[in-house]
Amino acid sequence: MTPLDSTAVRRDSWLPPVPLIGAKILELRKRTVLMAVTVAFTVALPVTFYGIRLIYHLSDPAHYGPAGDPGALATAGTLMSEFGFIVAIAFGATAATGDLSDGMFRHLVITGRSRIALYLSRIPAGLALLLSLAAVGYTLAALATAYLGSPHSPGVPSPSAGALAGAGLWLELYLVIGFTVGHGLGALMGQRTVPVILLVVLQIIITPALADHALPHLVNVERLFVGVAMDQLQPSLLAGPHIGPTGGKVALPPMPTWAMATVIAGWIIGWSAIGAWKTATRDA
């Protein structure tokens, strides 16, 4: 046996060690259904979308424009952000609750590792998988826009590399929010189904309704919804024909950039803190 005090490992630190993050990536990567759904909505979705457009265009160029028309990127971006957000919520909630539901959380706590470190290890692990897949999907969409669009439609300007990168970053930020909110709410509730339902309702019913209608005297309350802030921040490349007064697609008066950043950071940090508190105090 090794003497007790020979253990130099700092288990009380709330910072997760790299091997623990790697182990969590392994655990998530091996969830076949979760990964299949994630690949389907981040990579297969844009591939299918542009593939169908390409087939239509090649079969009847007179009626169907180029597959990579810049207008198509707005549609692809909407699909990727809406479905991607839902997948990100499910991914976050699964990352938060997998250890609990599988009975592994107790084993992990018994190792003496800080519960906060256990909680925080899931965030970079989940985001590493989710964002890399989303990056692959968006890169394919951007390549389609760059190489299957403008040369065939002389009247439409080709988006700059900076605009494409900005749209990609917005998309990735959207998924970061979905993941961290799903993760925090999942950790708080200890299960994944209800958080996913609640956040999907928020995303596909409540947020669009708020974004499309400025409620008298409640505009500032509406602005506290992260989806509203994200819609205001949306690059015009992805906003398409629904473009709003500030480049986003919402009907609300424009928000200052600092306000958007505060709302977005508040949702990410706030829900992460709530999940961390529950993880630290939960009976295991």
């Binding site: 007790l4 490992v9 091996k30 076949t32 599988d102 009975g103 592994m104 018994i110 003496g112 295991a284």
Partner: protein, 327 residues
């Protein structure tokens, strides 16, 4: 069965640990609403022994174990593991503690080896290097790369033990380690526990299988309704019980007359095949030999003399039922 410490051969590896007790608990109380699951428990577990924690269902065994490991917060009391206070220095205390609480469950979609990799990553240090030896010691090497969802209950128990061994533990806390095991599995687990104790490690186990505790453990604490009602070595525990012998003989009635008033037996009961005798105080073996001699001298054919040992289970049941009657 004597442990290393009982033999006076404290392993040199223990040098550096502090304190006499592997587990030291004072006044530990845990309530769930109006119900008191653990009621001012004092518990001292010496190092280098197999220690049984016995009690009926609902007695508060698992709650105490969960409190020891920081899985739940006690309402009051102090705890130290391996001389290190918990929860103040929980990370340091648990560095050399392995534990199974309730039924061991793991990620079913991962293999046994992958589950251990995750736990080793959480432990840090050289835990990763212990995976192979731990799998080998728990005889799981052949199935280590199969998904845990295909494991039997016994294999999951063994994987739980393997997870404990990643810590190179000085203290193992095992909650119902025999649960779900077949007789061969129980035998293997018992052997493993004894081998761990022989290496100088301390094993605390709770079990409802009292016979298993009697076979495996050196010391025991009996808990009922959240309170520890007895603590000590099994020998001490059994010291106050009756010594009995069963005698098969040719003429039970004559044999009973011979022994009554002899001072050897405090009570003689005639049974279908002979006598059931409660021995009077004194060395049991000598008393039994004396009974045989007297019956033979009286011309009564003695076919068999069997000592009857009061088991821990009988003792336990008598104590807990007595408590039940008193309530």
């Amino acid at each position: 069965m004597k442990s290393a410490s009982e033999q006076g051969a404290a392993p040199p590896e223990l040098a550096g640990d502090t304190g006499r007790w592997a587990v030291e608990v004072h006044g530990l109380t845990k309530r769930f609403g109006a119900r008191t699951a653990v009621d001012a428990v004092d518990l001292l577990v010496p190092r280098g022994v197999a220690f049984g924690y016995l009690g009926p269902n609902g007695a508060g065994k698992t709650t105490l174990i969960r409190s020891l490991l920081g899985l739940t917060r006690p309402d009051s009391g102090t705890i130290s593991l391996l001389g290190v206070p918990v929860p103040e220095q929980r990370g340091r205390a648990l560095a050399r503690v392995g534990a199974i609480v309730d039924e061991p469950r793991f990620h079913g979609h991962l293999t046994g080896r992958e589950n251990l990799k995750i736990l080793a990553a959480a432990r840090g240090g050289d835990a990763d290097q212990q995976i192979g030896p731990a799998l080998e010691r728990t005889r799981l090497t052949g199935r280590a790369d199969d998904k845990v969802s295909s494991y039997s209950m016994g294999m999951r128990q063994r994987l739980g033990l393997a997870a404990c061994l990643l810590a190179d533990p000085h203290l193992l806390i095992l909650d119902e380690p025999m649960k779900g095991l077949d007789p061969a599995g129980m035998h293997e687990t018992r052997e493993l526990i004894r081998s761990l104790v022989d290496e100088g490690r301390t094993v605390v186990l709770s079990s409802h299988l009292l016979d298993e505790v009697e076979r495996t453990c050196d010391q025991v604490a009996i808990v009922d309704r959240g309170k520890v009602i007895h603590q000590g070595s099994i020998g001490e525990l059994m010291a106050g019980t009756e010594d009995r012998v069963e005698v098969e003989c040719a003429d039970p009635a004559a044999a009973a007359r011979t022994l009554e008033g002899s001072g050897i037996a405090s009570r003689v009961t005639i049974t279908d095949t002979g006598l059931d005798i409660v021995l009077s105080a004194g060395p049991a073996r000598q008393r039994a030999a004396e009974i045989t001699r007297r019956l033979v001298e009286a011309g009564i054919a003695v076919h068999e003399v069997r000592p009857v040992h009061t088991s821990l289970e009988q003792w336990f049941l008598s104590v807990t039922s007595r408590l039940g009657e008193g309530s």
